[in-house]
Symmetry: C2
Subunit: 157 residues, 2 copies
């Protein structure tokens, strides 16, 4: 059995819990924000533990590579499949088999549920970067499940 | 770095989230129930995946041994250290270094926070047993952190 099952199942239950306790509220955007905030704090804690004994990062790209390899492997037991950048502060991380989507059925009718399964991870990346001194905006995009992309826009000070 | 870090950190954030969103409410018991319910559903999902290919269990004790070994290892990366029973439907599972408590400081002043860090796991065990057809009540007890005991009382039909 996959090691990440407890994490995946807990993640799903957190989504159910947040959406259920907000039933009747009109703004569903607030749920996404809540999930993003939880992810942010988990990301902060995780990167702190992960970088405890690592050497200083050379630059922004070096940090992004660490997120794609070590950080991603720690959480999702695989690396990011593709990292692209425009060298002007935008990075696109592509995961071809994203663990937190893999239990959702493939099919257009489920696409509308994808954002709530990605909000936590957007926060996770933003939290990790933030603790490394990099302020960012992280958004996500699904075209064909369970593949997805996270776009990181670095916010210059 | 420990593999269970993402799970542990997410678990902590769920506790913070639930307690924070209930601020001002008088009944703190409701938070423990919420955590227990989340644990219950994670336990159900997990045992389903874990027992997919296992042989039928011989008896109740056989089930409890599976919880102490395979199930515990899947979630906490270690086995239960001690299992006792009165052979009349009561089982005591002792974990001498419980992962979800290990980040709390040792000291009497923190003891009051222990129950909220155990509620999820009580539900986890109850959910797993429930999916195996065993109805139970699960309670927890901490004497010296990070050691703790879970008492399972089987409810005969």
């Amino acid at each position: 059995m996959a090691d990440e099952a407890p994490f995946q199942l807990l993640h799903s239950e957190v989504i159910q819990y947040i959406y259920k306790s907000a039933e009747g509220e009109t703004e569903s955007g607030r749920n996404v924000t809540k999930l993003e905030n939880i992810g942010f704090r988990v990301g902060q804690g995780l990167i702190e533990r992960l970088t405890k004994d690592t050497a200083r990062f050379k630059d922004e790209l070096d940090i992004m590579k660490f997120i794609c390899k070590d950080f991603w492997t720690c959480v999702f037991k695989k690396q990011i499949d593709n990292l692209r950048t425009n060298h002007q502060g935008i990075y696109v991380l592509q995961d071809n088999k994203f663990g937190l989507l893999s239990h959702l059925s493939v099919g257009k009718q489920y696409m509308e549920h994808a954002p709530k399964y990605l909000a936590f991870t957007c926060g996770l990346v933003r939290g990790a970067l933030s603790n490394l001194g990099v302020k960012s905006i992280v958004t996500s995009e699904v075209s064909v499940m369970p593949s997805c992309k996270f776009q990181v826009m670095i916010q210059k000070a």
